[in-house]
């Protein structure tokens, strides 16, 4: 489950029209969310609020969760210059937005024209770029984390992250990242003050360049109505390849990796699936994943690792199951009628999911956030109000099992997880945790 602050940050990305999927670091996002979900440790209680569309705060207390002590806490604050109007009450946050599952990628979208971002008033530019400021402090270790984010141009985002802690060498570090996203390809350049690490990442999408024929292609890709998408022109799949390189100037350490991804887009008519292949040539690591959305409520994924220098290998299999509450037949019919009649609102050119639309309109106006974060096919997504919880499970070749249930329970968002190790008879339960989130 996403932290409330991460959820708000996603909302910022979305509101400022930044595509977080189009980055090399998100190559394995789907498989990671199904296979490498974090299991909470100990007891964690989080209270957050989005006080105004610009400001959000969050307080967390953990018991027996970390190695820093029996009771630890976090305080975090977030400021956004862009008003974020997303459902923030824990009773109304759509689970599909806060629980990471199978990620449906959207087709490539051309970036906005920079001139569209200019705002003129009385002959002068008065536009300001969207900025996000975020800070978090951990107690009692007194570690401070800070983030500054700025959407400088439609294709660029600057990010500076800092950590300050007495236990770190040099007291902490700063990381500066420049993201460029041009639709067809994206690049990132980063520099970390800790050991002067330089890094560069790039992702290239093979296929049609959305920047060509910009005036009419975007309208063609946008489906006007549920089920009547211009499927003939929308690409059914997307093939991407990327590479990343790092080099540490001070400690002379470096690394690189390359990756490929093939994913189906919503225009694909059969089960959506995603395949990735990642290779680290220096270390000889090869990792391949496969994730498929096998139904409306089920997603499966598997990962196979192999090292051709040391012949170490591993297999990880996971699944994700969306649980719905049982609804009366009458309700279903009503819903079906409603969804067919509601015209989809088109605040953004994303494809529209009418079921999600309904949920969105009921809570707050605006924000295609739900639509873009939700599930793919209009006909396949469960209405969010029906979702009771999500069950995730994973098993690896050493019989280490991880279980997680995330859901809403009486206006609270909870996640309960356990990790088991079947090979160790004396200590099968390696860890159990509960996380409760309340937001306002």
């Amino acid at each position: 489950m996403l932290d409330f602050m991460d959820y708000i940050q996603q909302a910022f990305y979305h509101s400022s029209r930044w595509n977080i999927d189009n980055s090399y670091s998100g190559l394995n996002a789907t498989a990671q969310s199904i296979l490498e979900f974090p299991i909470p440790k100990g007891l964690r209680l989080n209270v957050s609020s989005l006080g105004t569309p610009h400001f959000s705060s969050s307080y967390t207390i953990s018991l027996a969760g970390t190695s820093a002590g029996p009771v630890t806490g976090q305080l975090s604050y977030l400021y956004s210059s862009l008003p974020l109007t997303v459902p923030s009450r824990s009773s109304t946050i759509p689970l599909s937005a806060i629980v990471r599952g199978y990620r449906h990628l959207r087709p490539l979208r051309a970036p906005d024209n920079p001139r569209d971002w200019e705002v003129w008033h009385r002959g002068r530019r008065v536009d300001e770029r969207d900025t996000l400021l975020y800070g978090r402090i951990f107690l009692p270790t007194s570690r401070l984390e800070a983030l500054w984010l700025r959407r400088t141009t439609p294709t660029q985002m600057l990010q500076v992250r800092g950590v300050s802690d007495a236990s770190l060498p040099n007291g902490g570090s700063l990381l500066g990242v420049v993201h460029n996203d041009h639709g067809k390809y994206s690049t990132e350049y980063l520099f970390s003050s800790d050991s002067a690490l330089l890094g560069a990442r790039t992702l290239y999408n093979v296929g049609h360049d959305p920047r060509q024929k910009q005036d009419d292609s975007s309208e063609e890709l946008m489906p006007t109505r549920a089920g009547t998408t211009a499927a003939s022109t929308a690409p059914p799949s997307l093939f991407s390849m990327g590479v990343e390189v790092y080099y540490g100037l001070l400690n002379k350490s470096g690394g690189m990796s390359t990756g490929l991804r093939f994913t189906t887009l919503p225009a694909y008519l059969a089960f959506p699936y995603t395949m990735t292949l990642t290779l680290n040539p220096l270390m000889g690591n090869l990792s391949s994943t496969y994730a498929v959305k096998a139904g409306k409520y089920l997603a499966l994924s598997s990962r196979f690792d192999f090292n051709f220098y040391s012949y170490e290998s591993g297999v990880l299999v996971g699944c994700e199951l969306w649980r719905l509450r049982k609804r009366a037949p009458l309700e279903r019919i009503n819903d079906a009628v409603k969804t067919s009649e509601t015209p989809p609102s088109a605040t953004m050119e994303d494809f529209v999911n009418p079921a999600m639309d309904k949920a969105a309109e009921e809570e707050q106006a605006g924000g295609g956030l739900l639509r873009s974060l939700g599930h793919g096919f209009p006909s396949q997504a469960p209405a969010d109000e029906d979702v009771v919880g999500v069950l995730k499970a994973r098993v690896d070749q050493d019989w280490k099992i991880g279980l997680l249930w995330e859901g809403r329970f009486k206006e609270l968002l909870c996640s309960v997880g356990a990790s088991l190790d079947l090979k160790r008879r004396e200590k099968i339960f390696a860890g159990v945790g509960l996380e409760v989130q309340y937001s306002n």
Partner: protein, 525 residues
């Protein structure tokens, strides 16, 4: 005196040692570059024992030992370790950094573990070792200089010269640090565990943490090369100190935790303003044994004298105690004992005064003990002298020892009313040996038999000197604990004044001399 090493059993069976080493190596947190446990696969102590040559012996007793040795080792012992290391430097680097500000690479930080085997051989050690052993405080072994001359490191990366040289350099450096700094601490702890079964420190890690990023070196390799204690008993592998808590029973007397608790409480009460002095019952003191040699009729000997600090000085100041041969024992109390007086004087409040008796005079009639009061009264001035005075006094007095042994009765009485009445109120005087000790001191804790001091300091402070430790009222020079003049209100009442004219005169003479020496000292300082 020669050392006879029975080296062969050490070669024969090293399984126990290897297991112990493996456990010890893996106890402390390892640097992130080491992925797996460190396992000692082979430990061979070679055929040749180290050469030990005695340079000095400073202190030798049944349960104490202090000496300087010259140690050299040129044998063919070797040690092999096996572990797995992480080959991706980005992985080790990022694993120690927080996620928030790390670049979070997708796959560039994936790990590759490589098995590694390191063999340390051809140790060449040569250096001066200071070995201090005491039953109560364990073994302390310190190198005066860096003993490691050379060492050969061979590993699975020998074919890569860069890595081989790097490993050689780093391991040599670490071993030097180990010998000089870590080894004494480890040996001390181990010895305490072996010889003091009540010493419990389960949280004490055997190996101190290391900050380096390379393979940590086992700190316990070298001590096994000379597992011979001062009694020339050879350590078989079974008797090498184990880290477990179930120490075997020792034939010698050991201190129970309770006793140590008593002693520490006593010491605390001496060093604070506690009014009550805890009493320890049923304790025999070494000084009693010495005293009983010469003076008969001792009924309830009291414990002397030395505070715990003196023992600390005594054992720590190895240089002092190793001044010279046997002669020093007779003639000079060491500076450590002197400093102990300093220390104990600084406490200065109510407690039983300590008495150190060095017989520098021919035996006098022991019945004339009632002159304590007088003797106390006769020497007020020197005791107000600065804290160096007692040391000077002791030295000066002791210097006269061989010439004219006199028995001096140093009495450390803390409080003013050194109403050490003639009735022999060793009021707060825990006399070493006194004939009139029949009466219990009035002011303090009732039982005279109670020990105020530790046997420990007694042991270290008073080596077997051929001194006449005898309390006689004549010739006793009290050493007042406090420097305030208030304390000098002696009550010279008592019947003992009649017989003490001579003593008084002598004492005055001594006092003058002491004062003179104190002034000299002050000028010198």
């Amino acid at each position: 005196m020669a050392f006879n090493f029975n080296w062969s059993p050490l070669i024969a069976d090293t399984v126990r040692a290897r297991e112990m080493l493996t456990t010890a190596l893996n106890k402390s947190p390892k640097p992130p570059i080491i992925v797996d446990d460190i396992i000692v696969t082979e430990l061979n102590l070679g055929k040749q024992p180290p050469d030990l040559e005695i340079l000095e012996i400073g202190d030798l007793a049944e349960d104490r030992f202090r000496g300087i040795f010259k140690m050299s080792y040129g044998g063919d012992a070797f040690l092999t370790l096996k572990t797995r290391v992480q080959a991706n430097p980005l992985n080790t680097y990022l694993s120690t950094r927080p996620d928030f500000a790390s670049p979070q690479p997708l796959a560039a930080a994936s790990g590759l573990t490589i098995p590694l085997q390191i063999t340390l051989s051809e140790f060449r050690l040569s250096g001066f070792v200071i070995l201090v052993f005491s039953k109560q405080k364990g073994l302390t072994l310190v190198f005066r200089n860096d003993p490691l001359e050379s060492l050969k490191v061979s590993s699975t990366f020998d074919s890569i010269p860069f890595v081989r040289d790097y490993l050689q350099r780093v391991i040599e450096e670490q071993l030097r640090v180990l010998f000089m700094e870590d080894l004494p601490a480890i040996l001390h702890r181990l010895s305490l565990r072996l010889w003091s079964p009540d010493y419990c420190d389960p949280s004490d890690p055997i190996i101190p943490r290391k900050e380096d990023e390379t393979i940590p070196i086992d700190p316990l390799a070298s001590p096994l090369q000379e597992p011979v204690d001062w009694l020339e008993t050879v350590f078989g592998d079974d008797s090498i100190p184990s880290t477990s808590m179930d120490n075997r029973s020792e034939p010698h007397a050991t201190f129970s935790q309770k006793s140590l608790q008593h002693l520490s409480t006593l010491n605390d009460s001496q060093r604070t303003l506690a009014l009550a002095t805890p009493s320890i019952r049923e304790v025999v003191f070494r000084a009693w044994a010495v005293v009983s040699d010469r003076s008969s009729g001792i009924q309830t000997p009291h414990a002397p004298i030395l505070s715990r600090a003196s023992s600390a000085y005594g054992s720590g100041s190895s240089t002092y105690s190793m001044v010279s041969g046997a002669g020093s024992e007779a003639s000079r109390p060491t500076l450590s004992t002197a400093s102990s007086y300093t220390y104990s004087r600084s406490g200065g409040r109510q407690r039983k005064p300590k008495r150190r008796v060095i017989d520098l005079r021919k035996k006098k009639d022991e019945a004339v003990k009632e002159d304590d009061a007088i003797t106390n009264s006769s020497t007020p001035e020197p005791t107000i002298a600065p804290s160096s005075a007692p040391s000077v006094m002791l030295e000066s007095i002791s210097e006269e020892g061989p010439k004219s042994p006199r028995s001096l009765n140093f009495e450390l009485s803390p409080t003013a009313p050194v109403t050490v009445h003639a009735s022999g109120s060793k009021a707060r005087v825990p006399k070493v040996e006194t004939e009139e000790t029949a009466q219990p001191p009035p002011a303090y804790t009732p039982p005279d038999t109670d020990v105020h001091d530790f046997t420990k300091p007694t042991f270290t402070e008073k080596p077997r000197r051929p001194l006449h430790l005898k309390t006689t009222s004549t010739g006793s020079i009290p050493l007042l604990r406090s420097l305030s003049a208030d304390r000098l209100t002696f009550s010279p009442e008592g019947p003992g004044s009649s017989g003490g004219i001579l003593e008084q005169a002598w004492l005055r003479k001594m006092a003058r001399e002491i004062k003179r020496r104190v002034d000299e000292e002050r000028l010198r300082a």
